[in-house]
Amino acid sequence: MSNTVSTSPRTAVTRGESLQTEKRKAALAWLTVPALFFFLVFAVVPLAGVFILSFANWDGIGSIGVAGMDNWLAVLADPGLYNALGLTFLIMIASWLVQTPISLLLGVFTAGSQRYRAALAVLYFLPLLLSSAAVAIAFKALLDPNFGLATGLGLPFLAQDWLGVPHLALGLVIFVIAWQFVPFHTLIYQGGVRQIPKSLYEAAEIDGAGTIKQFFHITLPQLKYTIITSSTLMVVGSLTYFDLIFVLTGGGPGNSTRILALDMYLRGFRANLMGPASVIAVILVVIGLALALLLQRLGGKDKHGSQLEGL
């Protein structure tokens, strides 16, 4: 908005008017103060606190002592960290691969105007209304190997020990995460698809392009930034998956679902090792920032440019 105002030829007419815009700009700067205040109090200060704690000895109860580099060396030498890192990236990539195509297709479908679309859309969005803890408890009960759904309905092929075998538990975690978050990303894609001008499709139809061609040559390119937004949320969000996995598996069996965020919690609040837990928190922040920046770069430098030029 401000960009178009300052470059438009109407503003640079007289001195008085430009002074007024200067004043308005100053007033606008003041408006960021509350946001900056909250950012400082709830993001910067805790971040600095965690960074300092990563060099300290603290059990969460007693007094805080100086540890120097001990925590960092101990955590970086711990194979548990690399296991957690590997699992975090595995869940991140698998979640992206599973969720993106499903939510993209569902988004395109719910943005259309087919019969029963509204009713089906409501069904798709239901998981979005449930809290992660509730979802985890429900799935845990359904998948119980002795009293669960499979036993109740007599479906032996479903009666696996879903949460008790390491690779099954990991796969299940990815599935439940997808079940919970696909609706959210569907919503994003639905909004994105509705922004695409109808005239593009009309032109394509005149040129003889079918539904599939339209999808690959109009919908998908037009959704470029929506895909980047959704992917950023998925990738950065997967770094903080905690509540669902904590309730569902607690990191187990063994360490097979102990992702970085959970590892941090267990070290800090179960084992009373706040220093090493802070080290992991710092690592999480660095990875999260790096990934967010990388994804922004993927969007290209001209990302503020219009995709609708010539329309």
Binding site: L31, P34, F37, D59, G60, I61, G62, S63, K140, A141, L143, D144, P145, N146, F147, D161, W162, L163, G164, P166, A169, T249, G250, G252, P253, G254, N255, L266, F269, R270, A271, N272, L273
Partner: protein, 442 residues
């Protein structure tokens, strides 16, 4: 252009108001858990779950109506969630006046951080109270010769429960030795019944197996050395043998299918025993009361059997040794006001383990830690079980406190994590011993 301006103004108003709203809610937050409602009362956190929740609520209600100036306000939490919450609350200076716990290593970290009151002199002043309890119950309440907690509730040894109906069907006898255990595993697997129920996701449930096995194989001295942090205490050959025996049992399908995804918090492990899906279960004696209440007449109709943990051929441990919780404990937060501390002490003296509470515990199938209850136990409808538990606790030459409570929280978390992997066979007994050895002194 009018539209954005009004929204800007309302945004400003919102921005101006928000800090006050935040301040108001955070003010509520700080006064929430730390202080009790009204006057000079004390706050207390306790575990949810029956039958103990009702027993405690009744005790508190009785105390509160007799002592309107020293009211106790109780909040209930689930077991596993409570253990984390109380630590965080104490660290943040938000602890309730009365801190409930299991003594041992966790209590030691509180005492060392000066977060709990030293009750030694108070017990000196109240000798009657001190002599009321089993002497063995004070061990886990004592740190460096000072008493930091009031023992209360009941003694809870780990007991081997079994389903009598299934044993009759199989024509089998409850196990006396480890060899019996292994042959019963085969018997019940052939019958299509799981030999042992286990809520393995909770991890401390699997730990109970190691506690008894290590004691039977190597004697109580092995864990004592670990507890005292002696060098290489975990590398004792008895630890390796314990791990090997456990993995043999897992390999022989001794535990119910899917045990590592069953959590004890939902009582699914008990349900497996009383619904006849599993023949045996090693569990705390507190599950007797829970099974009596939730087990569809399983206990009342005499189908629940119980024996002491079997012996191991060539083992050094006394077969009478017990493991479990010698008692539960309550400490007073040193951050509480003097008035709150007074109320808490009054509650300790007059409100906990009153005659009514003792009777309620006995009626729910537990043995309270007070002396001279033999007559009461004998007249109870659960006298077989109560006398069994009472004798087990009384006659045990060594009663080992549960490991995860005895050790420091740091070592305990590592222990539970390694036990989980041992039961999954993702580490060898040797690796288990080495991993744990690295936690000595932490």
């Amino acid at each position: 252009m009018k539209q954005p301006q009004t929204s800007r103004r309302s945004f400003l108003a919102l921005a101006a108001l928000t800090p006050f709203a935040v301040a108001a809610t955070s003010a509520c937050g700080t006064s929430g858990p730390g202080t009790a409602s009204g006057g000079g009362g004390a706050s207390m956190w306790y575990l949810s779950g029956e039958p103990n929740q009702t027993t405690m609520q009744k005790a508190v209600d009785t105390f509160n109506s007799a002592n309107p100036d020293n009211k106790i306000a109780v909040t209930y939490f689930q077991n596993d969630a409570y253990k984390t919450k109380i630590k965080t609350a104490i660290g943040a200076g938000q602890a309730p006046t009365i801190i409930y716990g299991w003594g041992g290593g966790t209590l030691k970290t509180y005492a060392e951080a000066n977060q709990v009151e030293d009750l030694t002199s108070w017990f000196e002043e109240n000798k009657d109270l001190k002599e009321k309890f089993f002497p063995s119950s004070f061990g886990a309440a004592t740190v460096d010769g000072k008493i930091y907690a009031l023992p209360n509730q009941y003694v809870a040894p780990i007991v081997l429960f079994y389903n009598k109906e299934l044993f009759e069907k199989a024509g089998a006898q409850p196990p006396k030795t480890w060899d019996d255990v292994m042959s019963l595993v085969k018997t019940f697997n052939d019958m299509g019944v799981a030999p042992f129920s286990l809520g393995g996701q909770s991890r401390w449930t699997s730990m109970m197996w190691l506690e008894y096995l290590l004691d039977r194989i190597g004697g109580h001295e092995v864990f004592n050395a670990i507890f005292e942090g002696k060098p290489d205490a975990w590398l004792d050959p008895a630890v390796i043998e314990t791990g090997t025996k456990i993995q043999e049992l897992v390999s022989a399908e001794g535990f119910i299918k899917g045990f590592s995804s069953i959590a004890a918090d939902s009582n699914a492990d008990q349900a497996l025993l009383f619904t006849g899906k599993a023949a045996m279960m090693l569990h705390g004696s507190w599950t007797y009361g829970a099974m009596k209440k939730g087990g569809q007449n399983f206990v009342q109709s005499g189908k629940l059997g119980f024996v002491h943990f079997p012996t191991v051929a060539g083992g050094k441990g006394d077969p009478k040794n017990g493991v479990g919780n010698p008692a539960q404990y309550m400490s007073i937060s040193s951050k509480a006001t003097d008035q709150e501390k007074e109320s808490a002490k009054k509650f300790f003296k007059d409100g906990i383990l009153t005659e009514t509470v003792i009777d309620t515990y006995i009626a729910s199938g537990s043995v309270p830690i007070v002396n001279g209850i033999e007559d009461k136990l004998d007249t109870s409808e659960d006298k077989d079980f109560l006398n069994f538990v009472y004798d087990l606790a009384k006659n045990a030459p060594n009663f080992q406190q549960s490991w995860d409570q005895a050790l420091s929280p740091t070592a305990a978390e590592a222990l539970l994590n390694n036990i989980d992997q041992l039961f999954l066979k993702s580490i060898t007994p040797q690796q288990f011993a080495e991993n744990m050895n690295a936690t000595l002194g932490k």
